[in-house]
Structure formats: C-alpha cells, structure tokens
Amino acid sequence: MSNKKKRYAMLVDLRKCIGCNACVVACKSENDVPLGVWRSWVKKVEKGQYPDSKEFFLPVVCNNCDKPICVTVCPVNAGIKRPDGIVYIDPHRCIGCRYCMASCPYGVRYINPRKKIAEKCYWCHHRVDAGLKPACVLVCPTGAMIFGDLNDPRSDIAKAVATNAVQVIKPDMGTDPQTFYIGLEQAAVEAKKIKEE
C-alpha cells in the first residue's frame, strides 16, 4: 500500500460507451437532481454524412479539477476542494450568486430550482466515503467508466491512465481536469448548439 494521500480521478473509455444514458439516470436518482437540470449528461454529436457517419458520445461529469476556478471565485468559500481532490459545494454556505457557474469552463454547475443554490457532480462523495463506487460508474453496463485513487499504483484507474493515451476536455483552461477520456473526439467537445429564440 502506498502511503501517499489519495487523489481520486475518473476515466471514461469512450470506445466502450454506447450512449445508453444509464449513468444519467443513475445520477438523477442517486442525487435527487430536479427536473430540467443535470449533474451528468451524455452529449451526442454526429460526424459525417449518413451512411458514412458516426455518432460520438461524450458523457460529462464534473472534472473535479486540480486547480478549480469555481473554488477560486466563490465569494463565501462554499466551493471546497477536499485533500483527496473532490470539489464540492457546502449547501449551507452557498448564497446562489452564480459566479461559479459563470466561471466554470465546463458548464457542469446549475442552480437547484428548489433550494436556489449551486449544485454539481462531486463524484458521489457520500458513496465514495462509504467505500462504494459513484452511481454512474456502478451502473455503466459496458464498464466504460472507471473510478479510483490515481495515487495508488495498483488501482484500476492508475493502471488504465498510465497505459493508455488519455485526454481531458479543454486542457488549455489551466484547470487541470481529473476526469480523463480515452478516444475523445474534439468535434464532440467543440460542436455547439445555440439556444433557439
């Protein structure tokens, strides 16, 4: 066993993702996420002309960045980065000023329509602390999602990150994201859908 402190991370193997949305459903149910907002979602982008086309899936969860801008800008210190790397929001402290939503480069935060405070994915830290996997990882039928301690060299995630070419979303933002992807299609990140009138 390594004595180093923990650094949780997530890896999504997009070659195995079938876009079934089981992770989205599990997340909604586990975290009691209200209608109209999502802690995790699967963005779907089609590239090319049918029949020579392929649909690319991008399951998005919070990156729980190593240098989280949301924690930097929170005026009441409600955004907290734990020593094991999980970034969470203290629900009793958040005033709902939406500054973290404005600054997050990944758009993973939302205002809970009932509580009027900011919420986001925190890798189900209540489950992780109890020794369980996050809900989305648990239900993924193809095993595309791996969660674990990056600092433990014998963990599944450390082996997978070490032996594969991994990417993160928007590395240029300087936030050092900790949700890694295998086979990330750049078009799936960059394609934008602009809100209709």
Partner: protein, 298 residues
C-alpha cells in the same frame, strides 16, 4: 467535416439582466462621483455647480444598485455570509466591502459639502476617488475571471468598464444639471458654458471608449476560435443590432457628432446626445453580460 449536435442539455444563464443593470448603475455612480470631485477635490472651480448634484446622484444610484444583486442571488437572506466567510481571491468579496465603504464615504463627503466645510470635503473627495474607481472596476474583474468566456476574459474589461462609466456619469450629470437649473434653481437659467464644456469632455471620452471597443474587437476577431465566435456574435450574430446600432452608432457616434460639430451645438442637441449616451451605455452593459454567456461552453 459535417458535425451536428444530436443531443445536448441547455445550460442555465449564469448572469443576466440584473447583473447588467447592477454594473450599469455602479458605473453611473462612479462617473458622477468623479465629476463631483473635479471641483471639490481637485479645485477646478468651473465645475463647482456639479459638486452637490454629483454626490447626490452618486449616493442614490449606489443605494439602488445592490438591490439588483439581491434580486439576482438565489438566497438573499444569506447575504451576510459575504462578510463572514471571506475568500480574498474572489472579486465578489472585494466588492462586498467596496459596496459598504463607498456609499458611506459618499454620504460623509456630501455631508461636509453641504456644511460648506471645504477642507474635509476635499479629504473625503480624494479618499472617494480610488473607492469609486474600485467599486466599478471590480465588476470588470468579475467578468474577466470567467475564463472560458472569450468576450469577458480580457484584461481590457476593467478599463473598458471604467471609461464607459465615466461617459455615462457625465451624460447623466448633464441631464440632471439641466433639470436642476431649469426647474429647481432660483435663477431658472442654465449655465450654457458649463453644459457645453461637459459636452466636449463627454465627446472626447466617447472617442477613447470607441478606441477601446475597437481594440477589443480587433484582437477578438484574430484570436482563438471561441474569441472569433464571440466577435462574430457581436458583428453578425444575434447581438449585432444591439451592439452596432444601439450601442455604438446611436449611443456613441451620433452623440459624438452632436456634441462636437459647432453648428449643431445647442442645448437641445446636448440633451438629445446625453439621453442617447445614457441609453447606449446601458446596452453596452447588456451586450457584454448577455452576449458573453450566450454561446454554450460544452
């Protein structure tokens, strides 16, 4: 290569009309305050009639402005958290103290001005200038810290905000001064020389503002892909009418010519130009805040 989004969620807007309005009002307040200190802080005696009007407008507007923040935040009854759980890295924390100190200083400064205590007026006027600059400048940092939004994330943002704040402050000051002299003064006569002097000052500040906006746009349209998308949104996209016509043509270029061409310079055109500027700068705030968060991030 053809790419098409088959499914994605819609994100909530982070900021919106309330924040645009808040930024506009703090700008008007800072601009009015700086004008009022020209006579009482720096001894430019031709601007003396503006001193009292300026400080009254600055104080009233700055008491209204934070109300829009309370409408904006989800849980306004937790606003006291801002003064207990400090995060010195966050511009909002800087702002929560500035929003307390600046109006208090305005009230003290105004009190001594109405008491005709020139020495203390001067001291509190000079203390107030950095406060007025910060109380508006920090809103520029709020937007600039949104690092994924190309329109916001520029070091030009605080200075751009300050220059447009001074413009909106001068324009509102011209209007309030004319109304005050016309209806509430003993002589019922307007000091035309002062109004036209302010008009000239306004015109040259507009030129500086246009220069800054042009700098911002030129760099945006050459920079990385998100920045180009933001420039496109302003020049040809959904916000092009508000940005080009309302903000820049009606709000800056037309008033500039109304104020600077000697043949057009009458009291009426100065009033029209000031009204146009006051509206135009509001739409500047609106476009910056709303267009900045219009393009989804993921």
């Amino acid at each position: 290569m053809d790419t098409q989004v088959i499914y994605n969620i819609f994100h909530q807007d982070a900021f919106g009309f309330n924040i645009a309005m808040y930024i506009y009002l703090t700008g008007v307040s800072a601009g009015s305050f700086i004008l009022s200190t020209l006579a009482y802080g720096f001894g430019l005696s031709q601007y003396k009639p503006l001193g009292k009007v300026g400080v009254v407008v600055a104080t009233i507007v700055l008491i209204i402005a934070p109300l829009f923040l309370l409408f904006h935040v989800g849980t306004p009854y937790r606003a006291w958290h801002l003064f207990i759980y400090l995060n010195m890295a966050s511009p909002i924390t800087w702002g929560s103290f500035l929003l307390i100190l600046y109006p208090i200083n305005c009230i003290i400064y105004g009190y001594f001005m109405f008491k005709e205590n020139m020495k203390l007026t001067r001291i509190f006027g000079l203390i107030g200038i950095p406060l007025a600059v910060s109380v508006h400048g920090y809103t520029g940092f709020i937007l600039a810290f949104g690092k994924a939004r190309a329109l916001w994330n520029t070091a030009l943002m605080p200075i751009l905000f300050l220059v447009s704040a001074v413009i909106s402050g001068i324009a509102l000051m011209i209007l309030v001064f004319i109304i005050k002299e016309r209806f509430f003064s003993k002589e019922r006569k307007i000091d035309r020389e002062l109004v036209f002097g302010l008009g000239k000052l306004l015109a040259w500040m507009i030129v500086f503002d246009l220069f800054l906006v042009a700098c911002d746009l030129i760099v945006l349209s050459i920079s990385h892909s998100d920045a180009q998308a933001a420039a496109h949104l302003l020049l040809q996209g959904k916000f092009s009418f508000l940005f080009l016509v309302v903000e820049n043509l009606l709000g800056k270029i037309v008033p500039f010519f109304l104020l600077i061409v000697p043949r057009l310079r009458t009291l009426a055109t100065t009033i029209v130009a000031s009204i146009l500027v006051v509206i135009g700068i509001f739409f500047m705030r609106y476009v910056v805040v709303l267009a900045g968060e219009f393009i989804p991030l993921l």
